[in-house]
Symmetry: C2
Subunit: 313 residues, 2 copies
């Protein structure tokens, strides 16, 4: 067994991501002690029942006391309050990080409150499922996924290196990026896709011509894939849109502009424009499969046979 990377890790928040980190830390022997904190007593009891940590508290300051690595695993909107609460209790030299899907806002919220004596290295593991809560986590969630770190200028390279080694040990590949660029990349690869998935599910639920029961019955034609995304945690996603407003509105503007052009092509029967786009999009799909971020299995079918074809399962 190699030496653990950190003596004591504090997880502030124990939902899907927090609990998956706990499992990954256990799997890799990455810390001697996991301190679990969450606000609600019931959630804490659930985490305790699942054996996710070594100590449990609803008090964030108590959880971070003596911790070498503190990771906030909470909705983006909760970061400032937690930074204020934990600041006086942080151990000098500790690495303080988070897992939020927005980075400029997290820096803005947390940095002013953190003492000079700690290393603040914001992070974002680009992984998730549509399930929430402490029971949703699993150790493999980060395997072969990317974790983006956005250390502010002047951050101690050794602290960045240790956090990077931690995520690598959790199974992830690590990329360093400026927070502003991160927020633009995620706006198009994650935030706008979620917004339009939520939106079409909402549209479908409020039609006069088509009943909700029909929408559900005939969802295998494509709609059901959107509902998976649109079942993600509401609080987390509300905060993402409120805290990455500029990049989301910018990317949404591009999306709408392109959609208007497609709408015109349909209205005027311009099949060539449609065919050209539908052909080009296949190349992006192939690139994602080659980048190891997706499997080539025909998951639309969701059949035992289709699944059996999938390589590497």
């Amino acid at each position: 067994m190699p030496e653990p990377l950190f003596d004591r890790v504090a997880l502030i928040g124990i939902g899907l991501i927090g609990s998956s980190i706990a499992h990954a830390v256990r799997r890799g022997g990455l810390a001697r002690h996991i301190a679990v904190q969450t606000r609600r007593e019931e959630t804490l009891a659930e985490a305790h029942g699942l054996g996710l940590g070594d100590s449990y508290t609803t008090d964030p300051a108590e959880a971070v006391a003596g911790a070498d690595l503190v990771i906030l695993c909470v909705p983006v909107g909760a970061c400032e309050g937690i930074a204020q609460a934990i600041a006086p209790a942080l151990k000098p030299g500790a690495v303080v990080s988070d897992v939020g899907s927005v980075k400029t806002s997290v820096v803005r919220q947390m940095q002013p409150h953190l003492p000079e004596s700690v290393h603040f290295v914001p992070g974002h593991p680009v992984a998730g499922t549509e399930h929430s809560g402490p029971a949703a986590g699993f150790a493999e969630l980060f395997d072969n996924r990317w974790c983006i770190l956005t250390p502010p200028a002047g951050t101690d390279p050794d602290a960045v290196g240790r956090l990077s080694a931690f995520w690598t040990a959790c199974g992830a590949n690590v990329e360093i990026m400026a927070p502003e660029h991160h927020d633009m990349v995620l706006a198009i690869t994650s935030h706008v896709p979620h917004l339009i998935a939520y939106n079409i599910v909402g549209t479908a639920a409020h039609l006069e011509e088509v009943t909700s029961s029909e929408v559900m019955k005939f969802s295998a034609g494509g709609f059901r894939d959107f509902t998976r995304i649109a079942a993600s945690d509401p609080t987390m996603w509300r905060d993402v849109f409120l805290h990455n407003k500029e990049a989301v509105l910018e990317m949404l503007g591009r999306f709408t502009e392109d959609l208007t052009a497609l709408q015109r092509a349909i209205r005027f029967g311009d099949g060539d424009t449609l065919f050209d786009l539908f052909t080009k999009t296949r190349a992006i799909r192939r690139g994602i499969i080659e980048a190891g971020q997706e499997t080539a299995a025909p998951d639309f079918g969701r059949s035992p046979h289709a699944r059996a074809q999938e390589p590497g399962e």
Copy 2:
């Protein structure tokens, strides 16, 4: 072994759907002879190599000669030409059907050309994957999916009953619907979802701020699920949009209206509107799982662990 439902089945077109029907017919012993037709010699040779039929031809009239059931498995835009080509060769009493994702247009294209002596029962199995071609098919594609039949008024109930029994034997549940209603239901559950998936993949591919390589690397945050849909067959989908123009434009108008409201909520920081929608959409997801049209497994993770949790695999 029960008596086959049809003596001779002719499949006009042998892509994903045609080849899946061939497999399902074999699995269930649903016909004594499968006649396979497709336009291109290479595709026909591929179908032959896969052993999908009992006879092979590029001539649709030759394929339908003597067939008791004829199913067009071609892009919607090809239906009229095929109806003209097969009309003189159709066996009196034969059931003539199709699998197109649009129904009013198929009725308009085919009905005028078909002789009075055959039974025209348009159909649409709501199932598919992102893969195309004769090698993409598998027998289980239709299992527990819906097949919608849209027989014109006055169609022989016995012919509808026989086609319904055929699809049931292929594993599907059958629903009867008016073609106009079908096209509205599919516009929201399938056509608009595909259009916005194609659209966002196109948008992401043409940004200055974010490279395609970044889009692919960080696609696990939601984007990759859209690329799966956006990898579907370009010809088939071009035809769907050209032939279901009115219903698609109507539903797209609704989608855009709702998206504009969400955009305003983001711009003005209206978190309650976002949270309310994101909460309601979860109920639709649960309904789809309860309706057996989706699994509850956390497929976002695409991990062996996540897959292992899936019931009924």
